[in-house]
Symmetry: C2
Subunit: 358 residues, 2 copies
């Protein structure tokens, strides 16, 4: 695969133009674009602007709600429950996290559960919204079922990522990870590279080790038995029951609290997504001196980075460090996009009578 | 090892008597006993009454604060920060979780961070306190550093368990797991059994695989390099960076928010522990109809239990199921204690002029 470096503002401007052209408001177009671009900046290509083609296609077919009707169905000073009415997850997610932050400014804590939403991009986008407010950000979402429970062989759990962020210097603590051992995207990477899967990533229809990524993907698409293992792998020896439990914690916070369907009932045959999310903002100043906490955290993270490396390893990263370094680099040198992705964007531009020059 | 089944009330009564004899109030003696016994009932022997001898020895030497002076150092309607002034963690933990629950009754959410505490037993004891109130319970604690960060070889993180519980029928959702692949207790079990450790549990001083549990324990005791790996194992292939990040999330909620020392600075040479904990109670009725949520969760957990088993596996458990089944059995048939533990308890009784007949 060959990569081209594209200036961030060029992609940003085109993406906003594209969403506006399809009928989204300027504000919503900026929001969706910011979520997608942040993924690219953080080095998470799978959730970045390479998805523009999918949105373009869905918007062209009229499958996306372009004028969101986000509804607060229940509210208290510390919480809200939102029905996203099938809008793009980036829009309802940003709306919900902003609401959580506003509530936390008033009361110290804001928690918002969202139902009837759709794929919201990287969970870590929303937690990073809390950082400038000196709040802890928490975000999670359920996903379609592609993971198997410990000792099971039918997909019953989602990859349900957990994200948590807190300000620290020089890099924030920023954690965003699927509760399955890997995501579906990783299967695609191994498939494209023609590589066999490592041990304890996936199982076949019998519940035995599966090393062929194409076979795992085929089974997921056709809703057959077999799937991706939870964080910790097969059985309990390496803690697979822990990843399984963490996935369920996410599901509880998302679908159970919001009143949305659990992951195994999200696809109701209507073609609509019914994804649920959960967001929290915690103003940690309510526990003590916020600056001192940030200093303590920064110091601890630095102590970890400075600690002795395992032989053969030259660096210890703290969660978020690589994403922040990646962001600085890419703002300077552009975002690396596959040539195929660049061509897709050029084609979208032509079909809409717009221009995109990488 | 040979086990004896001992009636729950016999141990309960003796344990309360022992703590009272050492100068704890009846209420505090009951609290500590309840936390220890709950671990045994849930089948977590390592955290149960086999620890009585440790408390008896520390109390005899005057190393335990018997009249706790728990201090609320900062408070809002949704939060509190507590200085436990070195009391037994079971007492400050129960106090803090009760406070979180009281706050959640008023506002919907209560979060309590505790510093200067000590080992509080199983985190899942405190989350189970939220269940009768139809609240989600969350609890976590930092521990001494015995885990290594991804790509590191010096212990810099704790086993820091995460616990989360919500009511469901017939078993609650009850998750309580170390963020390292296994706990220190598991090393003891393998050492006693003379067994080699499975792959990706621990590393030696160089950062390479270590399969000798005695060697891991010796290194931890003498504060040498090497230690237990995070959930997900070595490096990033199986998600070791995820377990490492989850351990840090616990550390942030515990020591960073409460103003206590991080795990690597807990042992200050004074012999005192400086453990930090974090507790939260969430009244989920604020998001919608609590009964419906409990029904949805119960249904989802049942669907998972009923789903197809991997070949060679005859049952899928949901988190908490085994603990609740264990509790029912042990309330009927007694708690299995090693003969050595029973003898220790008899010896304690004799030394205090009390009686214990198993």
């Amino acid at each position: 695969m060959s990569y081209v470096f594209v200036n961030v503002n060029k992609i940003r401007n085109f993406s906003i133009e594209m969403f506006c052209h399809h009928g989204l408001s300027l504000e919503d177009s900026e929001t969706v674009t910011d979520v997608l671009l942040t993924a690219d900046l953080f080095g998470i290509e799978s959730h970045g602007v390479q998805r523009l083609i999918r949105y373009h296609n869905s918007l062209t077919k009229g499958q996306v709600v372009t004028k969101p009707n986000i509804e607060i169905v229940k509210e208290t000073p510390v919480s809200a429950t939102i029905d996203a009415n099938q809008c793009l997850g980036h829009i309802s997610g940003t709306y919900a996290m902003n609401l959580a932050i506003r509530k936390a400014k008033e009361t110290g804590i804001g928690m918002v559960a969202v139902r009837n939403s759709s794929h919201f991009g990287i969970a870590g986008y929303y937690t990073s919204m809390a950082l400038p407010h000196h709040m802890i950000g928490i975000a999670t979402t359920n996903t379609e079922q592609i993971g198997v429970p410990t000792f099971g062989r039918r997909p019953m759990i989602g990859t349900n990522p957990l994200a948590f962020a807190m300000y620290a210097d020089p890099y924030p603590f920023w954690f965003d990870a699927a509760t399955t051992v890997v995501t579906h995207g990783k299967m695609e990477v191994y498939e494209k590279a023609g590589k066999k899967l490592p041990s304890e990533w996936a199982i076949d229809a019998q519940g035995k080790e599966e090393s062929d990524p194409s076979e795992v993907r085929r089974r997921i698409r056709s809703r057959e038995m077999g799937g991706i293992l939870p964080l910790g792998g097969f059985g309990k020896v390496h803690g697979g029951h822990k990843g399984y439990g963490l996935s369920l914690i996410s599901e509880i916070c998302c679908s159970i609290l919001s009143g949305g369907p659990t992951c195994i009932h999200m696809a109701d045959g209507s073609g609509e997504e019914h994804t649920s999310h959960f967001f929290a903002a915690i103003d940690y100043g309510m526990f003590g001196d916020a600056s001192k906490m940030e200093e303590s955290l920064s110091e601890y993270l630095q102590e970890i980075r400075d600690s002795e490396k395992a032989i053969g390893c030259d660096r210890i990263y703290t969660p978020g460090e690589q994403a922040w370094i990646s962001k600085e680099e890419k703002l300077m040198h552009g975002i690396p996009l596959q040539e195929a992705t660049v061509q897709e964007i050029i084609n979208i531009a032509q079909s809409l009578g717009l221009t995109f020059v990488p």
